[in-house]
């Protein structure tokens, strides 16, 4: 029971304190792209969750094995990329073999859910913060849930942020950035920080 609570706690904390977009800006461009369509949010969200959780599981064993190696931090990106690449290739082969229609529809964009800052960022942060397998997986789930929540917020605000009320130069990406900044400030306050303005 304790382990389950710790799992939930880690996932929830990651979702709000270490939010992929609002706190870490991991995969911001992918989030902006995904927020345009509801289908993209679900598709990319699921893809990122799948790869991150599986990769977190595998990287745990590599971290346990190689953590004492002096230059591990230098070869870490190569190892993590290899792990993500193997998972990606294996999954693509399975989809291509058994779900050819799905393969045709996702093959152009599927790489976005694998080789992006959210997946690799989650793996790097996992190595920095956590020590046991359950926390690795909980962190992976938390990061993806946080990404999903952030993209959902962006999707809701998308129409208003692109309305004619916004000055032409700020429409699109710039106002989206400012919006994310304000949301980030809200999350910052939610987790108990203050800007120093209120003593």
């Amino acid at each position: 029971m304790d382990k389950f609570l710790l799992f939930i706690n880690t996932a929830m904390l990651t979702m709000f304190v270490e939010n992929a977009i609002f706190s870490r800006a991991l995969g911001t461009s992918v989030a902006f792209y995904a927020s345009r369509k509801k289908e993209s949010i679900i598709g990319l969200g699921l893809g990122i969750t799948y790869v991150t959780v599986l990769s977190s599981f595998v990287t745990f064993w590599f971290d346990a094995w190689l953590y004492d190696f002096e230059y591990y931090y230098v070869i870490m990106p190569l190892i993590y990329t290899l792990i993500a690449a193997v998972i990606y290739t294996a999954s693509l082969l399975v989809i291509w073999r058994f779900l050819p229609r799905l393969f045709r529809s996702i093959k152009k964009y599927v790489h976005l859910s694998v080789f992006n800052a959210t997946v690799l960022g989650a793996l790097f942060l996992n190595t920095v913060y956590h020590t046991d397998l359950l926390q690795y997986i909980a962190f992976g789930i938390g990061i993806c849930a946080g990404f999903f929540v952030a993209v959902f917020f962006l999707h809701i605000a998308n129409d208003r942020l692109n309305s004619p009320l916004i000055p032409e130069a700020f429409r699109g990406m710039p106002i989206m950035m400012v919006f994310v900044g304000i949301m980030s400030l809200a999350f910052y306050a939610l987790t108990g920080y203050n800007t120093g303005a209120i003593v």
């Binding site: 690449a85 093959k107 080789f115 690799l120 130069a169 950035m177 980030s184 910052y188």
Partner: protein, 252 residues
């Protein structure tokens, strides 16, 4: 019996179709990866909180992106894109190793402070998206210049953002104290988002203004040119008419 020798076709040197056109400067302004397209922004928003960090990020980004894009341009296009991206990512992470080791020797503390945003540069959109949509469709020389322009575009904005944030957060520039005014909280991610958003909006407004002004100027030049041509034609026609009229007048 004479053996049939296969004659190898001579390699014909093809002339490059390279021309220095305005679109080569796209990476600097029109398609700046931070302010215009926003495809590479995590290191700028989170990690570039001082001038020095901005410089280190810019160097790392330049080395990793340039070498990876150039190397991967030799990857055969026969391999499907879904698999080619794996090669791009692996090549990027290989180039990351010497880059980070070298930077660590020169800026040990700064590299440590940048943290995970240093290795994240191997997954930047310049390598994964722009290569397929732009760089690899160009000739090698054009691609070389184009990539350099995109990298310069990123680097300038990264260093600028770092400098602005250092001034806002600590009232200093490159470690030199300039003013007592400071908002330390602006170092947090929200500061980066808001600053980059405002910079992007201002940059776009300025770019649109200059573009509209250029269009207006071009229209004015075209109008004047048309007017001049029309005037010339009228003078010519008038002269021709007078020439035609003259002999008839003489006859009379």
């Amino acid at each position: 019996m004479a053996t049939a020798k296969q004659i190898k076709p001579k390699k014909i040197k093809q002339k490059t179709d390279f021309r220095f056109t305005r679109d080569l400067l796209d990476g600097l302004a029109k398609q700046n990866v931070v302010l215009m397209t926003g495809i590479v922004n995590a290191p700028v928003i989170i990690a570039a909180t001082s001038f020095k960090k901005g410089v280190v990020i810019a160097i790392a980004f330049a080395v990793i992106s340039f070498l990876t894009i150039m190397t991967c341009s030799f990857v055969p296009k026969k391999i499907v894109y879904a698999l080619r991206v794996i090669i791009y990512a692996l090549v990027g992470s290989v180039y990351y190793i010497p880059t980070v080791l070298l930077l660590e020797r020169v800026f040990p503390l700064t590299v440590e402070l940048i943290g995970i945003y240093m290795p994240l540069m191997i997954t930047n959109a310049l390598i994964f998206s722009k290569t397929e949509s732009r760089f690899y469709l160009e000739s090698k020389l054009k691609m070389l210049i184009d990539v350099i322009m995109f990298i310069i575009g990123f680097s300038v904005i990264c260093v600028l953002t770092g400098s602005f944030r250092e001034m806002i957060c600590f009232g200093s520039f490159a470690g030199i104290k300039l003013t007592d005014f400071s908002i330390p909280a602006f170092e947090a991610p929200f500061g980066g988002f808001i600053l980059v958003g405002i910079m992007a909006g201002t940059f776009r407004a300025l770019y649109n203004y200059l573009r509209k002004r250029r269009i207006k100027q071009n229209e004015e030049i075209a109008r004047q040119e048309a007017f001049r041509k029309k005037k010339e034609q009228l003078i010519k026609e008038e002269a021709e008419y007078q020439q035609k009229q003259l002999p008839t007048g003489e006859k009379e």
